[in-house]
């Protein structure tokens, strides 16, 4: 009846139990609050069934931030373990548990924090920046979000029921095969990522069509804001790279569930095939995450320097170059495979080449600041810190692009330090800058600057403290996934410094939480009444904050780059002519499809056959129901739009 699921799946050690209790308490308090405030209907009508990208974007960001908190506590646990687990002291985590924490941290940070923040910001800003009223496929967009959210639920479920794989964030076979990982941990990993990944793939298609087909009249490709360009590049990568992930995960799942031999160590399986495939997705994934961050910095730097972005065309070509090159560097993740000198040389050189367009971008941002009237707001501070950390990480990356050097530092903490430099210093700082920059557009009031500054300093200093020691440790031979080491190695001091760094970062996160609370309490003081709090340049600032459901009441053609800026310079009052606007109706189908997918994943993990069948039938039925529904839109008449607009202007 319940497959492999027995009571044993609920029994865990004390540390996991603490995690479980805090998770249950968190969930209970949310449920209690909803009952207390009588907000269940509100939750269903305004959020769960919504197809509005602005609300979906907010939900992405909420899920991503919750996952960030959980994943940060994983990081803190690992660093604490490494700081004390020396010689005769074996720390507080068992080896197996340490490896599970390691897997959970990496998986969550990439798939659910970074991807969530990225798709959140894309949902919020891209339709506004291209002057559109919606995305191309609003229902598909809601489905994508819920698939992502249910993937996150499934991954968190592994903490409650069963375990997560002790195989690292990419679950290399043959370790991740049934023979060496007989538990359900790897299955949880596979299915939570598979479900979220399919959501990302559908989002990629959706935003590609949105950007290419829904731009405001007159906005040619070379007039698009740089953030839109960067998202376009990123979405092309999603569409080409994510199917590889889907196929690869499916094959690993077939190995584990049906006893196939794709990547096993026996019967002709080839584990290196998995590693090639996963990095053929994985390397583009790095650029999927970083390109939108580059786009955010382009907007932030131009706005706060009060200048046009320097070298727009070069920026565009740099993005296009990165999109192509990111598909010919994947082998640098495993130079040690033994592919031979010529193959390694090719991928090494390509890896060095891809640093060139990235370097061009950094110089363009600095030239944008040059002779500008620079305002050092929090988004700008994140940018400056990014330049420092990203350059350090970039130099380390080019170092490792030399195969001979990579052989020395492969799988060491040097590598760990390098990619955290890129992902925290690049991606995360970029998204923090974006969140601060666009927060007033989304919620109608600015974030508190003082606490933002505190958070920035803690993150920047903490980051350097936490990761510079890892470069040195890596050089000294410390490998990743190390839960214990000998005292004679003399590594403990550096590990303690790294642990202190993590604590400083946690203080930064504390300031961010405080910043949010204080900003909400003082929202009337910091309200954005004009819709243009930063004196912005692009179209999202031309409509009210928070943005009305139809985004723009009128769709005036775009005549040039930074069109809003030049409109402000000319101070021309356009004659407003309102029109009827078609708006998609809310629907719970996307949510229900994702719930069915969650049940499907759970059923495969625990081998509950009947639930599998039910879930598949549900998905087929729901899709059929939706595709045959012709009544998916309603109309907001011109009079209603006018009433909403004039009411907004008075308030």
């Amino acid at each position: 009846m319940l497959g492999k699921l027995t009571l044993d799946a609920f029994k865990h050690g004390p540390i996991v139990t603490v995690g479980q209790i805090s998770m249950v308490l968190g969930a209970l308090s949310v449920v209690g609050l909803l009952f207390y405030l009588k907000r269940w209907k509100w939750l269903w009508r305004e959020w769960i069934t919504t197809v509005d990208p602005k609300k979906i974007g907010v939900m992405y960001i909420v899920v991503a931030l919750v996952m960030l908190l959980r994943s940060l506590s994983d990081a803190a646990m690992m660093r604490a373990q490494q700081a004390i687990s020396v010689g005769s002291n074996h720390g507080f985590l068992s080896s197996d548990h340490f490896q599970q924490v390691f897997t959970a941290h990496g998986t969550m940070m990439i798939f659910f924090v970074a991807m969530g923040l990225m798709f959140g910001l894309i949902n919020l800003i891209v339709p506004l920046q291209i002057g559109a009223r919606d995305v191309a496929f609003p229902f598909l967009n809601a489905t994508s979000f819920w698939l992502y959210a249910m993937g996150a639920v499934l991954l968190n479920l592994s903490l409650m029921v069963g375990e997560i794989g002790a195989t690292g964030w990419l679950a290399y076979p043959p370790l991740s095969e049934l023979a060496y990982s007989p538990g359900v941990g790897v299955d949880y990993w596979i299915w939570s990522i598979q479900i979220a990944g399919i959501g990302s793939l559908l989002s990629g298609v959706n935003f590609l069509v949105t950007i290419l087909k829904l731009r405001r009249a007159g906005m040619t490709l070379m007039k698009m804001p740089m953030f839109v360009w960067s998202v376009l590049g990123s979405m092309v990568l999603v569409v080409v790279a994510f199917p590889i992930l889907t196929a690869t995960l499916a094959m690993l799942a077939l190995d584990r569930s049906l006893g196939m031999h794709f990547f096993t160590a026996n019967a002709g399986g080839n584990p290196m095939m998995y590693i090639n495939l996963i990095w053929a997705w994985g390397h583009p994934e790095v650029y999927i995450l970083i390109l939108p961050a580059f786009g955010i910095f382009s907007e932030v730097v131009a706005t706060f320097s009060k200048k046009r972005l320097f070298g727009y065309a070069y920026m565009v070509w740099a993005i296009i170059a990165i999109v192509f090159l990111s598909f010919v560097v994947w082998l640098h993740h495993f130079f040690t495979m033994g592919a031979g000198a010529n193959v390694n040389a090719f991928f090494g050189i390509m890896t060095m080449v891809i640093a060139v367009p990235t370097g061009i971008k950094v110089f363009n941002w600095i030239f944008t600041m040059y002779r500008g009237r620079v305002q050092f707001t929090t988004p700008m501070l994140w940018f400056l810190s990014f330049v420092l950390t990203f350059t350090i990480g970039g130099v380390a990356g080019v170092l490792m692009a030399v195969p001979a050097i990579d052989f020395q530092v492969h799988n060491s903490l040097f590598l760990v330090a390098h990619f955290h430099n890129m992902i925290i210093g690049g991606v995360v700082f970029g998204y923090f800058a974006g969140l601060t920059y666009w927060f007033p557009k989304i919620f109608g009031f600015k974030l508190n600057e003082r606490f933002g500054r505190y958070a920035f300093w803690c993150w920047s200093v903490g980051f350097l403290l936490a990761f510079i020691p890892l470069y040195i440790l890596g050089m000294m031979g410390a490998t990743r996934r190390l839960d214990h080491y000998d005292a004679s190695l003399g590594w403990q001091g550096l590990f303690i410094v790294a642990g202190v760094g993590v604590m400083v970062i946690l203080a930064g996160v504390g300031f961010q939480v405080l910043q949010l609370i204080v900003s909400i309490m003082q929202r009337d003081k910091n309200r954005d009444k004009t819709g243009d709090p930063w004196d912005g340049r692009t179209l999202e600032w031309s409509t009210a904050s928070p943005v009305p459901v139809y985004n723009f009441a009128t769709l005036d053609p775009v005549t040039e780059r930074d069109v809003f800026w030049s409109q402000k310079q000319q101070k021309q009052a356009a004659k407003i002519q309102y029109e009827d606007i078609h708006i998609p109706r809310n629907t719970p189908i996307g949510f229900l499809i994702a719930v069915s997918a969650l049940l499907f994943g759970f059923a495969v993990i625990w081998e509950i056959v009947w639930l599998n069948v039910v879930a598949v039938l549900c998905i087929i039925g729901l899709v059929m129901y939706r595709t045959l529904d012709d009544n998916t839109e309603y109309v907001l008449t011109a009079q209603e739009v006018k009433a909403l607009e004039t009411k907004g202007a008075k308030a």
């Binding site: 069509v209 569409v239 994510f242 094959m251 002709g268 080839n270 059929m624 045959l628």
Partner: protein, 191 residues
């Protein structure tokens, strides 16, 4: 409700993009098959289990169904109601026959003791060909639903859009099958 041209345009383009992602998915499976096809681990190779005339019959069925689906679309564009139903039914029957033959082939191979658990070659063979078969099954369900629509009411713009997307999907599966026929079966049986 009438579908404006811009709507049709973006839906077709979006579906086209989806097909390209599916193409990358198949490319990954093809690449894996190419790497693993020689790894028979003491089990049979393609030469031992493939029955080329049988597979050729399957191929002819599928290619013909692609033709009939195209005829269905032409009939729908010309608003000849009855013909759409006829051509769609023909496509459905041909597709179902193809899928039936493929399942016969699979059960035959498995019943001879050459299941997917035996070797990496057989794993990748069953997965690649089976994934195509699963797509065909989805197409059959899709057709089944559309046949009801075309028999019940007159052809709306939305129905025409669905049929357009379906024929794109069906032709795409045809192209994938040609690659499967060539790379998996012909190279397999000849080498």
């Amino acid at each position: 409700m009438k579908t404006p041209p811009a709507q049709l345009d973006k839906t077709t383009f979006g579906f086209w993009l989806y097909l390209m992602t599916d193409c990358v998915l198949f490319a990954s499976l093809f690449a894996t098959f190419a790497v693993l096809r020689a790894n028979t681990a003491g089990g049979p190779s393609g030469k031992d289990i493939f029955d080329l005339p049988f597979v050729l019959t399957e191929t002819v069925l599928l290619l013909t169904s692609s033709f009939t689906s195209g005829m269905a679309l032409l009939a729908a564009r010309a608003k000849v109601h009855k013909q759409v139903f006829f051509w769609l039914s023909a496509t459905f029957l041909l597709g179902a026959a193809f899928l039936f033959m493929e399942m016969r082939e699979f059960t035959h191979i498995v019943s001879e003791g050459h299941g997917w658990r035996m070797s990496a070659f057989l794993s990748s063979f069953f997965t690649l060909v089976g994934t195509h078969g699963a797509h065909i099954a989805v197409g059959l369900i899709w057709m089944f639903v559309m046949m009801f629509r075309f028999s019940a009411s007159k052809i709306s713009a939305n129905d025409l859009r669905r049929l357009t997307l379906f024929t794109m999907f069906w032709h795409f599966l045809d192209i994938v099958w040609i690659f499967i026929f060539t790379i998996v079966y012909m190279f397999g049986a000849l080498s």
